[in-house]
Amino acid sequence: MKPTTRSPLLAVDDLHVAYGKVEALHGVSLRIDAGRIVSVIGPNGAGKTTLLSALMGLLPARGEVHFRGEAQARIAVEQRVGQGLCLVPESRELWSEMSVEDNLRLGAFHRSRARAAELRADLDEVYALFPRLRERLRQAAGTLSGGERQMLALGRALMGRPQLLMLDEPSLGLAPKIVREIFHIIATLRSRGVSILLVEQNARAALQVSDYGYVLETGRVVLEGDSRVLANDPRIVESYLGLAKKAA
């Protein structure tokens, strides 16, 4: 445990990740306090997905990562899951051949010692959050629409009762109406005490829902700050919020 006054849920210091000889992240540092939503925005190829994969332990990385005060360097993906870290990857990684309910139940795999009633309650809670999943609970996950698959991926993650939920492009490829629904749900998750690290290309939605933001460009954090401040920063407005430069 670090003797800081208030140790963050996740602290990342000088993280380097390389694919072979090509370095994709050049010393990224960030912190997430408990109960907050933090977004990482940036263009394609900035290293956002790489960052999440490294934090989850799917990619080898150099640098310090502390989750709940514990160093993560030697810890395997499955153990990080057990500690309360959870990643919903851009590719969802669902089991398309299995039913919606099986997908959700397996989401609680690392909590398999929990009581059946508790798991049932969590399942009902997920269904309350995503009523459409309840309608399709016996259906194979592969038959769901894109939006429903994203909901299933979120639901499966929530079944693990994560402390920190890392979402990679949850809005990618979804219809605007579904995107609003997904972001609405992200906002309600905070009230349940789930902290969220949100990676998005949809900078406007991400900054609206988050408390704090980082801007990642070519493997480096180039800007950080309160989301509301970032949303009004001219550099952000110009490159990410898609507003035309005002004529002088």
Binding site: R74, V77, E78, L94, S96, L106, G107, F109, S112, G160
Partner: protein, 345 residues
């Protein structure tokens, strides 16, 4: 061919087919979870039968030494892994499990063998000795290679097969064995005679297949195995360790192989090296299912059994040739009909 002979051949074919079906299911499972084409599957059949025979003869089976040696090796590797990841407190427990289990079993065999001649006791001891070899082999050989290509895993599987054949020869000698039958009764139904051992085999195989089905359909760990087979990354992200899944699938394969060996012992003379052909016949069944479909694999294995007994009657010298030739039309048919699964690698 008279009706009587046809009945006899069908009976033989279904009996062997049921055993091949068990092996085919295990092969499909192991391949789906670990991408290993489990050549030593048949060697577990032989290990089961030879270990049972040696218990029935009142000897301590040499398989116990193998169990102890593998347990020691796994214990050592796991202990080093624990120390490296800074979990020194777990070392004692690891060593206790890996070495304590074989030693306890050793003592148990010593104590129980002179006391009882019960077939059930011997069968249970055989399972207790042989089944843990599966997960240990996974830990020692395949877990370090988990990221390798299918070809490398196949080569390792072949190496394990030859090692087991050699150890079988060393431990059990070159003589063939036949274990005592579960029962010698023969039922007469009309003009048909049905050996009760054959009934046992079909019955136990069916029960085991249903049990496996329930395991995958109902149990969380069964579903976790399927999940790993369907999507490895997805499984890791919910905390299912691929190492655990690998060990579990090898345990299922070893269990299935050992049960098949215990069942087969009384009807077939098994030698130290009989496992390869037996496993290969299960493999032909698994190929019918494209190494992916469980029902097709079981059906294919039954077909192999029937074909084998039929060709044993008509052209016994070409028995194996005919059975293995089945693979060619099957591969042709699959390559024309189904989409390519092999290119996923």
């Amino acid at each position: 061919m008279t009706f009587d002979i046809a009945i006899l051949l069908t009976q033989d074919g279904l009996t062997n087919g049921a055993l091949y079906a068990l092996l085919a299911l295990a092969l499909v499972l192991v391949f789906a979870v670990t991408r290993v084409i489990f050549i030593p599957q048949g060697d577990f059949v032989v290990l089961g039968a030879l270990t049972l025979a040696s218990l029935q003869a009142g000897h301590l089976p040499p398989t116990l030494y193998l169990l102890l040696a593998l347990g020691g090796a796994v214990g050592l590797i796991d202990a080093v892994a624990c120390l490296r990841s800074g979990r020194a407190h777990a070392v004692g427990r690891v060593l206790l499990i890996e070495l304590g289990y074989p030693l306890a079993l050793w003592a148990l065999c010593h104590w129980l063998l002179p006391l009882s001649q019960s077939l059930w006791l011997h069968a249970l001891l055989t399972l207790a000795i042989v089944v843990p070899l599966g997960p240990s082999l996974y830990r020692l050989v395949f877990q370090p290679l988990a990221q390798s290509s299918v070809l490398v895993l196949l080569i390792a599987a072949i190496a394990v097969h030859f090692a087991l054949v050699g150890l079988n020869l060393l431990g059990f000698g070159p003589e063939g064995v036949r274990t005592a039958a579960f029962s010698d009764a023969v039922f007469e139904i009309g003009s048909m005679f049905i050996a009760s051992q054959n009934l046992w085999i079909v019955l136990v195989s069916a029960v085991l297949i249903v049990a496996l089905y329930l395991f995958f359909e109902r149990a969380l760990y069964g579903k976790a195995l399927l999940a790993t087979a369907f999507n490895r990354t997805g499984a890791r992200l919910v905390g299912i360790s691929p190492d655990l899944a690998g060990r579990l699938s090898f345990a299922v394969a070893a269990l299935v192989g050992t049960v098949a060996g215990i069942l087969m012992g009384p009807i077939t003379t098994l030698y130290y090296d009989s496992g390869f052909l037996i496993g290969l016949k299960g493999f032909v069944g698994a190929i019918v299912g494209g190494l992916a479909s469980y029902p097709l694999a079981a059906g294919g294995a039954l077909l192999v059994g029937l074909l084998e007994s039929g060709s044993a009657f008509y052209a016994s010298a070409f028995k194996e040739v005919i059975v293995f030739t089945l693979i060619i039309p099957v591969l042709l048919w699959r390559s024309l009909k189904s989409h390519d699964r092999g290119s996923e690698e």
